[in-house]
């Protein structure tokens, strides 16, 4: 599973990075990041008083092999995806610059190394791949002007992101919960996972209050 900076930030900020250790111990797969995410989440914040502890937690996870830094030659793919994504929607003739290099790198790496599972809390990238029409409508409402689509680039984006499955840190934590991550909490474990999901949300994971309460009431506190 390839991890984006946004998910790692949400997980470390809410002190749930150990959910990755927990899952890594039980399953064969790897949590992968490109060097740019390592820079954003480890090297860059290492010197920021407010965030250095999060960087240290991630550095430790890398040192201990829980997260693996994978470099690949993705320059061309990054450019292709970035150009397509940033020439998809138009506001009165002006293309909207939606994605930045970091986000397109995640998609490019996924294609290059053949890993279809992406952990990403950031909303726009996910919506662009999963539901571009809703994103267009949202942009139209927010920017109060008509937003048109370049149909050719829409097909290209669909092709470039075909088969990618997106997950958020909220789902990863729920999975860890199902596998016993909160077992130590005893009778409090249902409350603990609910509270933890809200904490993730407040840390920036793009999940709605409604989504959390609906899932908890139907699957955790039935």
């Amino acid at each position: 599973m390839i991890c984006d900076a946004s998910s790692l930030i949400s997980l470390t900020d809410s002190c749930f990075i150990h959910a990755l250790y927990f899952l890594k111990r039980r399953y064969k797969g790897n949590f992968i990041i490109p060097p740019s995410v390592e820079y954003e989440c480890v090297q860059h914040p290492m010197h920021m008083k407010m965030h250095s502890i999060h960087a240290i937690r991630l550095k430790r996870a890398i040192n201990e092999g829980v997260i693996e830094v994978v470099d690949a030659d993705i320059g061309k793919k990054v450019q292709e995806i970035r150009w397509t994504a940033n020439n998809l929607f138009y506001a009165q003739g002006t293309p909207l610059r939606l994605l930045q290099e970091g986000e397109t790198e995640m998609l490019a790496l996924s294609r290059e190394i053949g890993v279809d599972n992406l952990l990403i809390d950031e909303r726009t990238t996910r919506m662009l791949a999963e539901d571009p029409e809703s994103l267009r409508q949202h942009l139209e409402e927010e920017l109060r002007r008509p937003i048109t689509v370049d149909e050719e680039n829409l097909s290209s984006i669909a092709r470039l992101t075909k088969g990618i499955r997106f997950f958020r840190s909220s789902e990863l934590l729920l999975l860890a919960y199902e596998k016993g991550y909160f077992a130590d909490y005893g009778k409090l474990k249902e409350d603990a996972i609910e509270a933890s999901l809200y904490k993730l949300k407040y840390s920036g994971c793009a999940v709605g209050f409604g989504e959390i309460s609906d899932y908890i009431s139907r699957n955790v506190k039935e």
Partner: protein, 183 residues
């Protein structure tokens, strides 16, 4: 209709002169929308300037400072320069004047600092969060405003932006896929 760079300078100066917070906020909204569409540095800086000025004119602790009149007069003068440079299409000088305005406001903030995060950083964060809420990606919003992604995520997490837009794929469907991977 989109505002030109010179019109924006004129409107900001006018709202500042009238101490009109409402007008300043409206200019700010328009500048943020334009930034989302055109991704232009000058428009973004006008968004930032109008945001911080709306704070300055709405809080007595700024405009009752000893040197406030002097500082605000300097800002008005710089806004006039911005207007003139915009008309001449001298974008480098425009950028320099916009940065001087922000520096002048930062000095006012430093004279009576209440929070670790200054008014300029707060403005950048607020604008970045609005851009992200509008549909620009986290990375692009962070890049345009010079805001750290971490801070932007934390700020966005305190808003209702993730409840205002329903995602097509539900948490139940994502969980189903995830269980399959980790089975």
């Amino acid at each position: 209709m989109a505002l030109s760079l010179s019109e924006t300078a004129l409107l900001i100066a006018s709202a500042l002169r009238d101490r009109d917070v409402h007008a300043m906020r409206k200019i700010n909204d328009r500048c943020i929308d334009e930034t989302a569409v055109k991704f232009g540095q000058h428009t973004y800086l006008y968004a930032l300037i109008s945001y911080v000025l709306s704070k300055v004119i709405s809080k007595p602790r700024y405009y009752t400072q000893k040197k406030a009149a002097e500082s605000l007069a300097k800002v008005v003068q710089l806004l006039r320069s911005c207007e003139s440079f915009s008309k001449q299409a001298d974008y480098e000088s425009l950028l320099a004047s916009q940065n001087k305005i922000l520096l002048a406001i930062e000095k006012m903030d430093d004279a009576d600092r209440r929070f670790v995060k200054g008014i300029i950083s707060k403005g950048k964060l607020k604008i970045a969060s609005t851009l992200y809420a509008q549909g620009i990606s986290l990375g692009s919003a962070s890049e345009m405003t010079g805001t750290d992604k971490r801070e932007l995520l934390l700020y966005a997490g305190q808003t209702m932006m993730f409840d205002r837009l329903k995602e097509k794929k539900s948490i139940h469907e994502r969980m189903k896929d995830l269980r399959e991977i980790f089975s």
